[in-house]
């Protein structure tokens, strides 16, 4: 290492003035590129917020204002009081479905991951491989039959049709099993010797040790229900059970297909707000969960 250090020193001395100018120029190019890209990435969010604060007359102008001349919160009032949108009901439905399906999904995922990681039983590896194989199949293929199934059971336009069919995900079982496997088996054997039951061990040792993964799964699952569109659209498109994304897409467009964009942007901002709060406070877990699992929510 010290050899490298001295070589570096010698190198540094060799760097001529011209080279250091090139280096500064290079840095400027890199920063300029990154900042321009960052502005492009962030611009839609900015445009959403300022458009939601404009009056329709200002929004329609041929030369747009980059900041509203008159800040108008009427669009937000309209979003919360609109009788076609029923925002309160949409929020209630989405939160209820999100919380119940996430909680249920977590319990099932933790139990199965524990069985796959710690318990021995006949056919374990074959079963696990079979589960993993199902991950290759696009979800649309399941939807066709699942629609038949829930229709036959009379589950259309209920909460359970939104909660139960996609509650377990093989992927999260896989992710948590991998995490559980990293916990040394000796801990489990020691606990067994001390007469600790499986569930107690799971609760007191495994879950706390795998907590970061469990939190990541929770956030990704909650975000998944907040953003789910196709299945809810198909099976529960009535006022009492409609979820938020679905309600949002069709609102604020009148019979002639003309959209009141400022009000629509206000609605989009309201729907996006919980996601931004999650992003601000739980970014670490999301980024870790995404980079480890590599899924698009």
């Amino acid at each position: 290492m010290s050899e490298i250090k001295t070589m570096r020193d010698r190198d540094m001395q060799k760097v001529s003035a011209q080279q250091s100018v090139m280096k500064v120029l290079g840095k400027i190019v890199v920063y300029a590129f990154l900042i321009i890209m960052a502005i492009i990435v962030i611009f839609p969010f900015y445009w959403m917020i300022i458009s939601s604060l404009k009056e329709m007359n200002e929004y329609r102008r041929s030369v747009p204002t980059l900041f509203p001349e008159v800040i108008d919160f009427m669009n937000y009032v309209e979003v919360f009081t609109n009788e076609d949108l029923l925002l309160g009901q949409l929020f209630y439905n989405t939160v209820l479905v999100g919380v119940v399906s996430t909680a249920g999904g977590l319990v099932i995922t933790v139990l199965s991951a524990f069985a796959f990681a710690r318990l021995e039983f006949k056919g374990k590896n074959a079963l696990f491989a079979a589960l993993l194989a199902t991950m290759m199949i696009p979800g649309e293929l399941f939807t066709i039959t699942n629609y038949q199934t829930v229709f036959m059971w009379g589950w259309i336009e209920t909460y359970r049709v939104l909660i139960i069919p996609f509650m377990v995900s093989v992927f999260y079982i896989y992710l948590l099993r991998q995490n559980f496997l990293q916990i040394p088996n000796e801990l489990y054997l020691a606990a067994k010797v001390d007469g600790c039951s499986d569930l107690k061990y799971l609760w007191k040792v495994m879950i706390p040790l795998a907590l970061p993964t469990i939190i990541s799964i929770t956030i990704l699952k909650m975000m998944g229900s907040w953003n789910s569109y196709m299945w809810p659209r198909l099976v529960a498109n009535d006022d009492a059970h409609r979820l938020i994304t679905n309600g949002l897409r069709t609102a604020f467009t009148n019979a002639e297909g003309v959209t009141d964009i400022p009000v629509q942007m206000a609605a989009v901002a309201v729907v996006s707000l919980p996601l931004f709060l999650v992003f601000i406070f739980l970014r670490k877990y999301i980024m870790k969960g995404v980079s480890r699992s590599g899924i698009k929510g």
Binding site: D11, I164, D198, S291
Partner: protein
Amino acid sequence: MVDSKHQWKAWLYLAPAIVLLLIFTVWPIINTLRMAFLEGYTTAKEANPFIDYEFTVGIGNFVRVIQYPGFMTCLQNTILLCVLTVPISTFLALLIAVALNSIKPLQRLLQTIFFMPYVTNSIAIGMVFAAMFNMIIGGSARPDSVGIINNVLEALGFEYINWMNAGSEYWANIVVMVVYIVWNALPFKILILLGGLQSVNKQYYEAARVDGTPKWRVFTRITIPLLSPMLAYVIITGFIGGFKEYSSIVGIFGESMGPVGNDYALDTMVGFIYRAIGNQEGTASAAALILFAIIFVVTMINLAVSKKSTHY
């Protein structure tokens, strides 16, 4: 460690997951195969209590899917969007990740900004993009508002373009979709590629520097090869996601999947399957199997190519 006394316990813990997966994952796989190969299958016919339909086995559903005029549009749109967005987003993400990795100040802030689009609702933000490209037509020849994207184009000296309103052209619609899909795909790719770059052993760069290797050579001979597993990964997941493109189009164009007066101009494979659910299950199943086959083949090709060019 095989403890036969505990076997039933393992199955007990697995029971809820297995029951749900049998009903909602395993049965659909079997049933899709069954429905796809029964000629003219629909749920309504099978469930009809008065007539006992006998379905013959055959490939009629597949033939019908391929001959259906809308299907080729769906296939073309899906493939076109895939072929355009995966390379563009991968290339941009690579540039951004390498640039981010080379700086110290502002790195964390910029990294956070680049991750932001990940945590969004693709329908909701699609509506924001639609507003940015959308024109508001008034009484006069020129629209009241041409939309912020066109304002920028005009400021740069170009003419405004009808991106997505009534009468807009196909290529303009595709450009809107590509911009939105790339914007949406960047955060995940940047995250994975930056993670890969940060785990690269610094000694390779140290050695290249000592040898006075030019920057571009360092990039093509060290960075790219060491990053190739992650590149292969984002390209493969990009293609898989790309073949399932649907909600981003609903976000921009709504459920008509096209500009006003040209419904379904931008329909995709998944859109095709969804519209057949609830009335033409045999056709929907055949289309879903075709989609699965395409994804499977493309993934295998990707894996074969990446195995050849990936350096671990």
